[in-house]
Symmetry: C2
Subunit: 254 residues, 2 copies
């Protein structure tokens, strides 16, 4: 809600200023970034969206979690679908680690360290250790830069002082940062961006690769499929939702 | 010079607006980003700097170069030294590939592909292939997002249409983007950022690691060392410079 309200104001202001920016304090877990970027793109605007989180990621060479999973969101208007990048700067999400543990699966290599700072594929050891940044030292530098950028512009906490997005007991001290910008030379540049993305999609592929994808392509195809055939839930989650429905007396349409 | 002139204007304007942005066209190779970010930080401002380049990087799953090495620069004021991130989104620079070839060395793994899209450690095959993005699919998404961001805001070329930074024969069609922002709650947030960076530097280390570094620490130490003891040149480069000096009749102080 805080983000949507900020976007209302930014979309008003940007028509006068060309660029507008909002820092958000005391807001809880932002969830996915992409819906907000779809919205700015639909309004013909470029959007940048950053957020911090509880420290779960270790610095390159470090043995403890000191940095959030700090996702980066970039939205650029294009046809037939906008370019929307929405990715964490950690090599894996804590949710995925927990899911691997629940399924009794090993993690892929390079995703996490144990509490001694040694790389591990054991999800249990990873949970008492830390997630690794994606892309080694470069990903670490990016994650750290975004932590500082968001905090210094929204006036929020840094590192281990970030609390309240993984539980409801502590105050939410993380920050969000949204930048909205009018593109130059639209609609010509929107056409150029769309043409470029089509060139990427039809690029020659490496051996054993079917097609080159643009970020968002897979999710968009999955969404279309889910709209046709429904959403698959893990058995346990579905049972949990049913129990909650019964406990709180919520009626279901189906 | 174009960047320095843009910074003059942005630093004037940002005191009124809080955020100011410049897109630059028809400018040649920008070189390092960090000196410009050191400058914005010295002025107490946050700086973001992006630039495109000739297409040298393949998309994830692709076999040809379609994206620039698109570096990302983030400058955040801090004590005793500013946080300055200046990194390409390619896993290695073309300059490093050429240097490996000159020394007859193999490339590290995962840095480049050959002209068929197959990963290679041979610098000769890499030069006729493409550089890989850092960090796999995530680094590819970031590089692509920055290519679109810079081009749509500066009204410049995309992908293989970017020319003129590797040679002097074609017009320079790449773009630069600078964003300058006043930090919130300074000087308190500058102090908080400085404290956080010190916590990162004194963090527990992984086995066999001496110390956790913040981006820029190594370069800063190297600069201090070079100021004391001089700069080491490869033997061939020094001879080339001497020949040029003789040919153009330039006098040298030493």
């Amino acid at each position: 809600v805080a983000i949507a309200r900020a976007l209302d104001e930014l979309e008003d202001r940007v028509t006068e200023t060309g660029v507008a920016l909002a820092g958000i304090r005391r807001s809880s877990h932002i969830g996915m970034l992409s819906p907000y970027l779809e919205r700015t793109c639909d309004a013909g605007l470029i959007g940048l969206l950053f957020t911090t989180s509880e420290a779960l990621v270790h610095p390159a060479g470090g043995a403890t979690a000191l940095i959030g999973t700090n996702p980066i969101g970039i939205g650029i208007p294009a046809e037939p679908s906008h370019f929307v990048l929405d990715m964490a700067t950690s090599a894996i999400s804590m949710g995925e680690v927990i899911a691997h543990q629940a399924r009794g699966q090993e993690l892929p290599e390079g995703r996490a360290i144990d509490s001694e700072g040694v790389p591990t594929t054991d999800p249990v050891r990873a949970r008492s250790g830390a997630l690794s940044p994606f892309g080694g030292a470069k990903g670490y530098g990016l994650a750290l830069g975004l932590e500082l950028l968001v905090a210094t512009l929204s006036g929020t906490a840094l590192g281990v002082d970030v609390t309240g997005t993984l539980d409801r007991d502590k105050p939410a001290t993380k920050g969000d940062l949204i930048v909205v910008i009018e593109p130059a030379r639209a609609p010509a540049m929107v056409a150029a961006a769309s043409e470029y993305l089509e060139a990427i999609r039809s690029a020659p592929t490496a051996p054993d690769v079917d097609a080159v994808l643009v970020p968002g392509d897979r999710a968009r195809a999955q969404r279309a499929e889910s709209c046709r055939t429904g959403i698959e839930y893990p058995q346990g989650l579905w049972a949990q939702l049913r129990d909650l429905r019964v406990r709180y007396g919520v009626n279901s349409a189906s």
